[in-house]
């Protein structure tokens, strides 16, 4: 048994090293590329750039559509997570607490938007939106992103509604709690984690979404991913692509690390509710 444990520790260490290269190297390269100086290009066969500076960052910031794309992306994401939350709350409440007939079926349908190929959905939603005048509009993009946000939001909210022990709700009722107080003092605090996680998840997914923004927004509304697409495609520019990639990725990762901390430190509903 000891031997087995040793082997798995060795495996684990090797695995950690591979992991470091696997994740670290690509990110490191992107950071390097974004720091290449405007006047001293980095080209084959140099192993590393000769000079590093933020000059490309300030150039990209001042002379490309980056600022506008960021405003568009963040506005869309904010609206999307707000409306997705609004639409998903009642549905998740019923799915989580009332166990309606056909629950499995409804849950499956709610998952479909992220299971079906994104480009197919994007193309045909675009087709429908064209005929009702919703393409080339922020509203259209938000409507599309809500569709892709609902699967994540309803899942997270439904499971946090489910995890409230029925006894706790009964106890609150037994103590004469009115409807409004029930919502704000019992339900909300107890689904808080699902609520936060859902909103942030949908926000990040919206920031990252490409297909719908590409079909519904371009050329009027450029989001960060569609802008990246142009710098990776017909306008190939490795440095700009690096900068946009970092802008797209780093805030998301920071947010995720922050909430992971928060979720760990705050209490979990189950631990306190006893075994029953």
């Amino acid at each position: 048994m000891q031997k087995l444990k040793k082997i798995s520790i060795v495996l684990f260490v090797v695995f950690c090293l591979i992991q470091l290269l696997w994740i670290g190297a690509p990110v490191f390269m992107a950071v390097l590329w974004s720091l290449v100086d405007v006047d001293t290009p980095w080209s084959y066969p140099d192993m590393f750039p000769k000079k590093l500076s933020f000059s490309q960052w300030s150039y990209a910031w001042n002379h490309t559509n980056l600022k506008r794309a960021m405003v568009t992306s963040y506005t869309v994401a904010t609206l999307t997570s707000f409306f997705t939350l609004l639409i998903s709350l009642p549905t998740s409440y019923i799915l989580g607490r009332k166990k309606p007939r056909g629950k499995r079926f409804i849950e499956t349908v709610l998952l479909l938007p992220i299971v079906l190929p994104g480009m197919v959905i994007a193309l045909f939603v675009g087709r429908i939106f064209t005929s009702i005048g919703l393409v080339q509009s922020m509203g259209g993009i938000v409507l599309g992103h809500i569709l892709l946000g609902i699967p994540y939001m309803t899942r997270l909210l439904t499971s946090s509604f489910e995890s409230i022990p029925q006894d706790v709700l009964d106890a609150a009722q037994d103590l004469g709690t009115g409807r409004i107080r029930m919502i704000f003092k019992i339900y909300f605090p107890m689904i808080r984690l699902g609520f936060i996680a859902g909103t942030i998840f949908v926000f990040i997914k919206s920031i990252e979404e490409f297909n719908l923004s590409f079909i519904l927004g371009l050329p009027t509304y450029e989001t960060i991913p569609t802008m990246l697409y142009t710098y990776l495609g017909y306008n190939f520019h490795r440095t700009y692509a690096s900068i946009i990639s970092l802008i797209l990725t780093v805030p998301n990762l920071i947010i995720l690390l922050l909430i992971e901390q928060k979720i760990k430190t705050s209490l979990t509903p189950r631990s306190a509710a006893g075994k029953g």
Binding site: P165, D167, V168, D170, A171, A172, Q173, D174, L175, G176, T177, G178, R181, K185, I186, P189, M190, R192, L267, T268, P269, R270, S271, A272, A273, G274, K275, G276
Partner: protein
Amino acid sequence: MSKLKVSNLVKRFGSFTAVNKADFEVEAGTLVTLLGPSGCGKTTLLRSIAGFYCPDEGSIFFDGVKVDNIPPSRRNTSMCFQSYALFPHMSVWKNIAFGLENQKVPKAEIIERVAEVLRVVNLTGLEDRKPSQLSGGQQQRVALARALVTRPDIILFDEPLSNLDAKMRDQVRIEIRELQLSLGLTAVYVTHDQAEALSISDRIIVINEGKIQQAGAPQEIYDNPVNSFVAQFLGSANIHEGAVFEHMPDFTVIDSPLGRIRVPKNSLSPGSRVKFCWRPERTEFKIDPEHNVIKGNVIRRVFMGNLLEVFFTVNNQPVKVQAPCWIPDEKELSFSLSPESFILLKE
């Protein structure tokens, strides 16, 4: 007038009848236990009293007032849940104050009453803890305090001790009983543990398969079970069948697997079938020749510390008795049973 009256209550879930014509009353200031095996309908009955279930037939009265259509939030009952059901996101103080806030009790009074109830359940100083930071026994007492603080007409206990370890269980059981007596609370207590029921209750209601089997004071039920279910569920009992042989002036003689035995006088006609039981602890090993003397083969002896449990066969009928530790280690032993130790059962 009784504090709580349950009248002919029926509760069905689909085709399953969980409670079948339950009918009983609870006097003010007493603790009544609903005792039965799991799935017998006792919790359904308790939850109907709290208002979580609407009865299909029959009614429930508090102080003579029908409460069938009053939702749980407006019934003046408080329930102590098996899982405690504490609000995990609130401190101990908040948990206890919650019901009072619902009743819009003035802040100053809330502070006073919570402090008082914390003193009563011995939790002073833990006000700011979260439930997850408390031991099982402490959580149980918070649940109790939360139920007590609203001064309910009736307090309902749903197997409150089942999540505690054996030692805690004895201690908390005594605490609950003392509180109930000193505060004069009216309580309905659900349990499947006969020892718990016998020691805590003013009255016990034994339930099986949705039906009330017997109701009465603990001693009364223990000494005079009406049927074999009650006899076996409360304590242990040897049950036999026989037929009435003849009536004597002071007792009745029965033909049974134990031989021809004398039992308390009854009015059954000779020849009719009869079922009876007796408790293992009524066995006498200092044989009284005036009593029924029975001889049996020893199958197994189990040492229990203060006494022995001895398993016999008497005419191929298995019999369990309690014996003092000094009895001789022999294959064949005799013991005696007084006529009064036999109890006739209805079924």
